[in-house]
């Protein structure tokens, strides 16, 4: 089913048990830290971002979404040598946006998830770039081809990841 505009009552709101709430973001952070050591191309992927989008869309609560994005982003920053808050800000926006979108749209099918992940990845990178350049004065270079390839790759992985994480959903 394509992306459809539905009323708030028609979309399902899910919750997760505490082990999933902690374990899945922690596993994403661990894989993001560990896999690039052996597969350098893996730096292109952003598993914490995909997890943020998944939780935000499943819970469909903007406050919960932005807080999830904020916490995951801050912990991701903590693992880098960069100041805390660059990923935090970007993922806060993404968490808020994804959960707000989840309230209004039904994004349960693969195509919708692919498009949503693609758009939010690009949005995340733009916000990250603006914060890093504007607030922290990092010397970053923007490359549309690179960002688009990375967005496609993340969206592709996101579709499979979301279906894998669907089994942890619990109806409210």
């Amino acid at each position: 089913m394509p992306i459809t505009y539905t009323s708030g009552e028609q979309v399902e709101v899910y919750r997760f048990n505490w082990a999933v709430n902690i374990g899945v973001p922690a596993a994403a952070l661990w894989l993001q830290s560990f896999l690039p050591l052996h597969f350098p191309f893996f730096k292109m992927f952003d598993l914490p971002l995909l997890v943020t989008i998944f939780f935000a869309m499943a819970r469909r609560n903007p406050i919960s979404g932005l807080l999830t994005g904020s916490v995951i982003g801050l912990f991701q920053d903590a693992l880098t040598g960069l100041p805390l808050g660059i990923n935090g800000l970007a993922k806060t926006f993404v968490g808020y946006g994804a959960s707000s979108l989840g309230v209004k749209l039904d994004v349960e099918n693969a195509g919708a998830r692919f498009l949503v992940t693609l758009v939010f990845y690009v949005a995340h990178e733009i916000i990250y770039f603006m914060v890093a350049r504007g607030l922290v004065a990092l010397n970053l270079q923007w490359s549309w081809p690179h960002e688009l390839v990375a967005a496609l790759a993340n969206a592709f992985v996101g579709v499979f990841l979301f279906f894998a994480l669907d089994r942890f959903k619990q109806r409210t």
């Binding site: 830290s33 903590a78 693992l79 960069l82 805390l84 808050g85 914060v131 990092l138």
Partner: protein, 423 residues
């Protein structure tokens, strides 16, 4: 009022969270060191992630070791043969380099140079990375408890890797040299031009601050200069791959460097925990006489003390002789040319002083070398000389020179006299 708050609750929370993070960023950017609060979240994150990585690396290494060391030994014999050949070649190279090193030490003593030695290192395993394209850092499994401190150099056998940025109890964060916030004092090996090695946002390594009017060739090695007070001088940084001067108005060349260490595949590293800075001890170099040099270069030296003392008795009247090959070169029958007496060489230096020692000249024309004709191998071309199957006592020139005069045992060596040396 309540209805407004309720209506815009989501937006208000969003603004508050964003504002808090922007504020936190501003505080961190203003302060160069970590604040307590930011350090706390880093400790939590690292403590949560690194134990799993350590366990995984341990299991991976254990299974890999079992496979490679016990089951998969195909090709080991052939590899062993190749390595043995390589060792032989390296031994030859070592003979040549040891002379250069000895000369360098003598000069260092002469000019009272201080030398930096990596005297203590800790081996560490790389267990994680920053996981981001913008931040090039890795985590190692040694931290404060192992004696690691911030700003310690991290190296591999191939070259430098980075420096310790943050330390935790059992892990440390290492900033790689290809990160854009890193900087390493560097020097070009041949041209001796000094610059700064930095990372770029794209993850490349460049050498900065070399003026455009200088000439830098691709392939030239880049070493640490020691100017950053982190990396000891002389460690390999990388090799120049590309030199560009795209914008003529630029003052500096754009020099790309390929790191000597493979920064994308780091497994084990060494943390330099102690660097000694000292002058080479005079005992290491000692007063070097022409006879010592000659004795080392001859194919066989029976007894160095006797030889040198005899040479002293003879007034040290021996110079380096062309055509005489280092012992190891002879043993291997290598075509490596013998080290000629160079201007800085002890023998050559001594020989240049009139009246003290003999200038280098062909052995056949020197009376001092005449008895050496009894050992035909000494007169053969270097490439033809081979060790005899049975040990043949080869007399060096000093012994030979001492013989006709029947010098007494070397208890009281006589000072060098001008007339002692053959003319």
């Amino acid at each position: 009022m309540e209805s407004v708050l309720g209506r815009y609750k989501n937006l208000i929370v969003l603004v508050v969270v964003l504002f808090a993070q922007v504020l936190g960023l501003a505080v961190q950017v203003k302060r160069t060191t970590d604040t307590e609060s930011s350090r706390l979240i880093r400790v939590w994150a690292v403590s949560a992630v690194t134990p799993f990585e350590e366990v995984f690396v341990w299991m991976h290494n254990g299974s890999g070791s079992l496979w490679h060391n016990y089951f998969y030994l195909r090709g080991v014999r052939a590899e062993n043969r190749e390595l043995k050949q390589q060792i032989e070649q390296l031994r030859l190279e070592q003979v040549r380099l040891s002379e250069d090193a000895a000369q360098a030490r003598r000069l260092q003593v002469l000019f009272a140079f201080k030398e930096q030695f990596v005297s203590k290192t800790i081996a560490a395993q790389v267990i994680g990375s920053g996981g981001s394209e913008q931040s090039r850092i890795v985590y190692i499994d040694k931290g404060e408890s192992a004696g690691v401190k911030t700003d310690m150099a991290v190296i591999t056998v191939n070259g430098i890797v980075g420096k310790v940025l943050k330390i935790f109890r059992s892990t440390s964060q290492v900033l790689l040299i290809d990160d854009q916030s890193s900087g390493v004092g560097a020097i070009l090996e041949k041209s001796r031009l000094q610059g700064i090695v930095r990372g770029t946002p794209a993850g490349e390594v460049v050498l900065e601050k070399i003026m455009t009017d200088e000439s830098v060739q691709p392939g030239e090695a880049v070493l640490t200069s020691g100017g950053d007070r982190i990396f000891p001088k002389g460690l390999p940084v990388g090799v120049v791959t590309h030199v560009a001067n795209e914008n003529r108005a630029d003052l500096f060349l754009n020099i790309h460097v390929r790191p000597a260490a493979n920064l994308n595949k780091l497994e084990e590293v060494l943390v330099v925990t102690k660097v000694d800075e000292k002058e080479p001890a005079p005992s290491e170099t000692g007063p070097v006489r022409a006879a010592d040099i000659l004795a080392q270069r001859l194919p066989s030296v029976p007894d160095k003390s006797t030889t040198t003392d005899a040479a002293q008795a003879n007034g040290g009247a021996n110079g380096a002789q062309p055509g005489v090959t280092p012992k190891a070169s002879l043993e291997k029958g290598s075509s490596t040319p013998p080290n000629p007496a160079r201007p800085g060489d002890g023998a050559a230096t001594a020989a240049s002083k009139p009246g003290t020692v003999v200038p280098a000249r062909p052995a056949s024309s020197s009376p001092a070398a005449k008895p050496a004709e009894t050992t035909p191998s000494a007169l053969k071309p270097a490439t033809e000389q081979r060790p005899e199957p049975t040990p043949v006592k080869v007399l060096d020139a000093s012994q030979v020179a001492a013989k006709p005069k029947q010098a007494p045992p070397p208890a009281t060596p006589s000072p060098a006299k001008p007339q002692d040396g053959p003319q």
